[in-house]
């Protein structure tokens, strides 16, 4: 009600934002972060409630702003638009809760992990919480490359019963909708283990990460296509990621982070 333009211009046109017009960079600008070695904080975090409906990019922006609100000594990228340096282990789907996600955040000075966890939790919006924090090990595989598998708990009327009805072997083909239409995907080879917890709940361990990944909604679709779960129930089921797994030195799965 104060001073927005009312002269007949398109109200949605951003006035001073023309991304195709690049301004010059100052000399010596680069995107190299000023992170100090050995100062990367690894956190486990939970999300639920309204935050569960943020898409991955929106979640990253929310993290960035929360980090800025903490006032902690963060490492920033260089250049015109400095950003905190963060890595997420595995993107979360829209409408998926988590109790076990992992992210790395680079610091410019030492911070006690407990302080870090408390201050970030306090700066988060509704639905996000830091579960634990510790310094990330130096070197080694990147967080994203380390992910091998994920556990999901799926619940809703009849979800467990339907999971129990899935044929024990053979392909479980579903339609994965993408930008260029639907593609058939066989869920079976991506499914590592399945445990019916109650008539209304199932826990699945599935392949996850940048190489092979099963989205939990595709598993729900398999329940609907191959085990008679009404598609409305499949669309309505609660999805919680309860663990992220990496491969240990012996090749066995170990909890990530």
């Amino acid at each position: 009600m104060s001073s927005d333009r009312t002269d007949g211009r398109d109200p949605k046109a951003p006035p001073a934002k023309a991304p195709h017009l690049r301004a010059p960079r100052p000399e010596g600008a680069s995107n190299r972060p000023n992170a100090a070695p050995g100062r990367t904080m690894r956190i486990r975090f939970a999300r639920t409630g309204p935050a569960a409906w943020l898409a991955h990019l929106d979640l990253m922006r929310t993290f960035e702003r929360s980090l800025r609100r903490t006032g902690l000594p963060l490492a920033f990228t260089q250049g015109f638009s400095p950003h905190p340096v963060m890595t997420f282990a595995l993107p979360l789907g829209v409408g998926v809760d988590t109790e076990a996600d992992v992210a790395d955040i680079a610091l410019s000075e030492d911070v006690a992990p407990e302080d870090f966890a408390a201050r970030l939790s306090a700066a988060f919006p509704e639905g996000l919480r830091v579960l634990s924090a510790h310094l990330a090990p130096e070197g080694g595989e990147s967080l994203m490359a380390a992910v091998r598998a994920a556990t999901y708990e799926l619940s809703g009327p009849g979800v467990g019963t339907a999971a129990g009805r899935l044929p024990p072997e053979g392909p479980l083909v579903v339609e994965k909708k993408g930008k260029d239409g639907a593609k058939p995907v066989d869920v079976r080879p991506l499914l590592i283990a399945l445990e019916v917890r109650s008539p209304d709940g199932v826990r699945v361990l599935v392949k996850a990460g940048s190489r092979e990944n099963l989205r939990p909604d595709l598993f729900l679709q398999a329940l609907s296509v191959h085990a008679g779960l009404p598609s409305e129930e499949a669309a309505d089921a609660a999805i919680v990621r309860t663990a992220l797994w990496t491969a240990g030195p012996d090749g066995a799965l170990g909890i990530l982070g």
Partner: protein, 623 residues
């Protein structure tokens, strides 16, 4: 009634579900007083509605300021609602979910107030669609004592007559103070037992700046023009005058501002340098209705920037005002901000600066923080036309600024123009192309080693829409075929240059905008019918359908050209003549005549021309 539940299957089926769930940082949740207690009887719930999608509404500074103003009251809880996109509206209607607030998911019809900000005329249909989805009777006459009071403000409230039959209350001008007074009156009235709606409206109409449309009767002549708008109750003043905040330094500012869930159009901390504009460009409604200019001091702005960046985590601070370069202490302010924000790793983004005062120094300063694209608004292509609209800049000013910019490393700019301005001829249209070509020639004259990238010049044309409370309020809008022809001609002239990109605003939308901008209450029936037939998001060019609207207007015997394309005599009663923005009608007539002569008028700091806004006793008029 319990809060609305949103099944996951709905949120999973719609685009951008984060629009509908709330939970943002700095969103306000309050505990409601227990029902039946005296506290509950003296508590007000206000749903602040923006009649467009979340990303647009959350960009709006007025919403964020008033959210803060209302929520700092212990006796009031202000929540938000936005227009659900069509996919969500369909799902809600299918599942019987009424429109709800984001904070507590309470159905809107349970609120004491449902308030809309009217930022553009084409959002009027969405206002009605939101009321309908909320289950609130559309017309004030149909509402009962249990229904909320529907209130509106914002720039289009200066002529809200087309939706006046749907609004219980309208606040004119800056609402920071009047809204507080209104809530005081409401809470007192409610605590004393309430009563019939009219009793509260009568009290409200005594508050300066509060307009109760149902307290005014409109009579028409046989030719369809307005004969009179007269109060029908003793409490209602003959004229309602807009409110302003005299001291901007003392005006409330939301440091802990809402942090949106989704990327919004203006996703940054906003600093309001001043309100109003000294310039008086004759097409610009904002330049008149926000008079007089009042500035905020650099110290206050710097404190606001730092505190707000810290409380929101925004990575950018933007300057907000109608003509930033007219801020008298701009260098002092930007110096200070650059220094403060560098520590916080926050960018300062400079908005378009006025071409006659863009200084190399300021640009250099911006380079330490962030350089945005350059935008200039010459508005017209020839000096004659610029004089008619009182845009006091010349071609040399523009070219001089651009030379500095190009030498400083910029490779492009965006130039804004208007088509269909009063007295415009094809020669003026051709002047736009000539100006763009001069910029191209200028670019070629810059030493090659400074031209690291090819030139990128945006020429953008919008269609002139005559607005109330401007010197052009009596002018006919150019017709759609003529505007189309001008735009086509301009496109032809600009074709062949790879450096120039021509963009234009939809002529059809501008036509309906012109109908509504100077419309009267009879248009309400058309809006109602449009919404019944599913018209939504008319400000989105891909959703707009002029033919549908013309069919509706025709069916109701309403002639759009009567509103848009007719020259109105100076002595005609205008539908908004009972509203008062401080600027006098006689001044506007004088300006209109000066424009016809092709003469310019000095701005407020060159010479006060006695526009009438001095009645507010502050700002630039008393500097």
């Amino acid at each position: 009634m319990p809060p609305v539940t949103l099944p996951r299957r709905i949120l999973r089926s719609v685009e951008k579900p984060a629009r509908y769930v709330g939970g943002e940082r700095n969103a306000v949740r309050k505990t409601l007083p227990a029902p039946g207690t005296p506290e509950a009887a003296a508590f007000a719930r206000f749903a602040f509605c923006f009649p467009d999608v979340y990303e647009i509404g959350m960009s709006h500074s007025g919403l964020r300021i008033l959210y803060h103003v209302l929520n700092r009251r212990p006796d009031t809880w202000c929540e938000r609602a936005f227009a659900p996109w069509t996919d969500m509206e369909e799902a809600m209607r299918r599942e019987g979910i009424p429109l709800f607030s984001l904070e507590s998911r309470t159905p809107l019809r349970e609120f004491d107030f449902v308030g809309f900000t009217l930022q553009y005329e084409l959002s009027f249909p969405n206002v009605l669609a939101m009321l309908d989805l909320a289950g609130i009777p559309l017309r004030t006459a149909q509402r009962g004592d249990a229904d909320p009071f529907v209130i509106a403000g914002g720039p289009c409230a200066y002529n809200a007559e087309p939706i006046a039959d749907f609004l219980d209350l309208v606040v004119l001008g800056e609402a920071e103070e009047s809204l507080d007074e209104l809530m005081d009156a409401y809470v007192a009235w409610k605590a004393a037992g309430g009563g019939p709606r009219e009793a509260f409206l009568a009290r409200a109409s005594a508050i300066p700046g509060v307009y109760v449309p149902s307290f005014y009767d409109v009579a028409y002549h046989d030719d369809g023009t307005v004969a009179s708008v007269l109060p029908n109750r003793p409490e209602a003043p003959a004229r309602v005058r807009k409110r302003i905040v005299k001291d901007l330094d003392a005006a409330p500012f939301p440091e802990a501002d809402l942090v949106p869930n989704l990327e919004t159009v203006h996703d940054r901390v906003f600093l309001e340098l001043f309100r109003g504009c000294i310039r008086g460009c004759r097409f610009c409604q904002a330049g008149f209705v926000y008079r007089p200019v009042r500035e905020r001091s650099p110290g206050v702005l710097r404190a606001q920037a730092s505190a707000s960046a810290a409380a929101t985590g925004h990575e950018e601070v933007g300057l907000l005002s109608l003509s930033t370069s007219d801020y008298r202490r701009l260098p002092e302010l930007t110096d200070g901000l650059v220094e403060d924000l560098a520590h916080q790793r926050v960018n300062l983004s400079l908005p378009s600066l006025r071409v006659d005062s863009v200084s190399l120094e300021l640009m250099e300063k911006a380079s330490k923080v962030k350089r945005a694209g350059l935008t200039f608004a010459p508005e017209a292509g020839t000096q004659r036309m610029r004089d008619v609209v009182n845009k006091g800049i010349g071609e040399e000013d523009l070219l001089r600024s651009l030379r500095l910019a190009f030498e400083g490393g910029w490779n492009g700019a965006k130039l804004y123009f208007m088509l269909g301005l009063p007295t415009e001829t094809m020669e003026d249209v051709e002047g736009i192309a000539a100006l763009a070509r001069s910029v191209e020639a200028l670019w070629r004259s810059i030493p090659r080693e400074l031209r690291l990238r090819p030139l990128d010049l945006d020429v953008s044309a919008s269609m002139f829409v005559p607005k109330p409370f401007t010197p052009f309020q009596w002018e006919p809008q150019d017709t759609v075929p003529s505007l189309r022809e001008k735009s086509r001609h301009l496109r032809e002239l600009l074709r062949g240059s790879r450096a120039i990109r021509y963009q234009w605003h939809d002529t059809d939308q501008s036509f309906l905008e012109a109908v509504l901008a100077r419309g009267d209450r009879r248009l309400g029936a058309a809006l109602e019918e449009g919404v019944r037939r599913g018209r939504r998001f008319d400000s989105w060019d891909d959703r707009f359908d002029l033919a549908a609207w013309l069919g509706i207007l025709d069916g109701l015997g309403l002639d759009p050209a009567f509103y848009a394309n007719r020259r109105r005599p100076y002595d005609e009663v205008l539908p908004w003549d009972h509203l008062d923005v401080g600027v006098s009608r006689s001044f506007l007539v004088k300006e209109a005549k000066t424009a016809q002569e092709g003469d310019t008028t000095p701005h407020c700091r060159e010479k006060c021309v006695g526009c009438g806004a001095a009645v507010y006793g502050g700002g630039v008029c008393f500097e």
